[in-house]
């Protein structure tokens, strides 16, 4: 009986410690992806989409429409890699400027960029992992 009272709290404590460790690892990864993504964003995206993700007039859409970033999560990798060649409605406005493809970006780099954009400008996507980008890219052009 006394053993039971000792072991059960100990067991829960152990679970808590493991869960925290995992979360900590995830947070570190997210921070690392975010930092790398920021510098890649500056080089590849900022000219059109702006330092604050504000876009430019009705030429280039902002990246601060959190609902649209959220709902397009499974398409963002393809948009970055292969560009956008269709009209989009973002921030209640129509955008039809072609976005160029970025074929030279690797899956890893796209994950960095998406983790940065996905956690800046009001967005809260959390970590976008390389595995997520990889599996999304396999399904580009199909219904996602």
């Amino acid at each position: 009986m006394s053993n039971y009272f000792v072991y059960v709290p100990f067991f829960f404590l152990l679970i808590l410690i493991f869960a925290n460790a995992c979360q900590g690892e995830n947070e570190i990864k997210k921070a690392q992806f975010f930092t790398n993504g920021k510098s890649l964003y500056t080089v590849n995206c900022e000219n059109c989409h702006g330092v604050k993700g504000e876009g430019l007039g009705n030429l280039y859409p902002p990246l601060s429409d959190t609902a649209s970033i959220q709902s397009n999560r499974t398409r963002l990798s393809c948009m970055i890699k292969y560009g956008i060649h269709e009209e989009l409605i973002i921030d209640n406005r129509k955008f039809d400027t072609e976005m160029p493809a970025n074929l030279s970006l690797t899956e890893q780099e796209i994950a960095y960029i998406l983790t940065y954009v996905g956690n800046s400008f009001g967005n809260e996507l959390g970590l976008v992992s390389t595995e997520e980008v990889s599996s999304t890219l396999k399904r580009c052009g199909q219904d996602q």
């Binding site: 000219n47 702006g50 009705n58 030429l59």
Partner: protein, 211 residues
């Protein structure tokens, strides 16, 4: 009390002196000394590089010539609408210039497209619309390859077709300031916020010069 007053007067003198020495802008480009005889006297005059006559078609498919820029100063650049690199930043900065001098008929902006095949007046119109530019203060112009690249040389801006460059063209992001006599008075990096701020200050100086 009296020493305080003296200090105050000193400060005022200092500042008022600082303001009387008006800053002027240099005249850039080549120059040559021309000697001629006027009324039997030999006079040496400096002739500065000026922008020659030009004729382009703007976003409203109207012909635009150097005469449209006769009464005032203008800022000019070279860009193309599908440019993925520096042009969006230059356009964004030119929007600031436009906002500052909105409805000032002494100030104009002239953007030349170096993508002479794709950027027809219709494409330029769509670009201007999407930027939110209306009216005729900011002219986006289309011309033949020979004319556009020829005039770029006159503004001392490098522009060339290059398949290896992002978007297919290689060019410099200068914003060139031209005075009422078609002389180049300044060149500013259109992607640098500090230099664009300097451009707007210098435009005020240049406008003061015309008065």
């Amino acid at each position: 009390m009296s020493s305080y007053n003296l200090a105050l007067i000193g400060c005022l003198l200092f500042f008022s002196c600082g303001q009387t020495s008006k800053k002027t802008l240099p005249i850039l480009g080549e120059r040559e000394a021309v000697t001629k005889e006027v009324n039997g006297k030999t006079i040496t005059d400096t002739v500065y590089q000026t922008i020659p006559a030009f004729s382009f078609i703007n976003q409203d498919s109207v012909i635009i010539t150097e005469k449209d820029f006769d009464n005032g100063i203008y800022v000019t650049d070279f860009f193309f609408t599908s440019c993925p690199s520096i042009c969006p930043v230059m356009s964004k900065n030119l929007l600031k210039v436009l906002a500052k001098f909105k409805d000032n008929n002494q100030v104009k902006i002239l953007s030349h497209s170096i993508d002479t095949k794709y950027d027809t007046p219709w494409v330029l119109k769509r670009y201007a619309d999407k930027l939110g530019v209306t009216g005729d203060q900011w002219q986006f112009v289309h011309g033949s390859e020979k004319d556009i690249y020829g005039i770029a040389d006159k503004y001392m801006v490098y522009a060339k077709e290059n398949a290896d460059a992002p978007g297919g063209f290689e060019h410099q992001g200068w914003l060139i300031l031209v005075d009422g006599k078609k002389r180049i008075r300044g060149a500013y990096d259109g992607t640098d916020n500090d230099q664009v701020a300097q451009l707007m200050e210098d435009m005020d100086i240049l406008l003061g010069e015309n008065e």
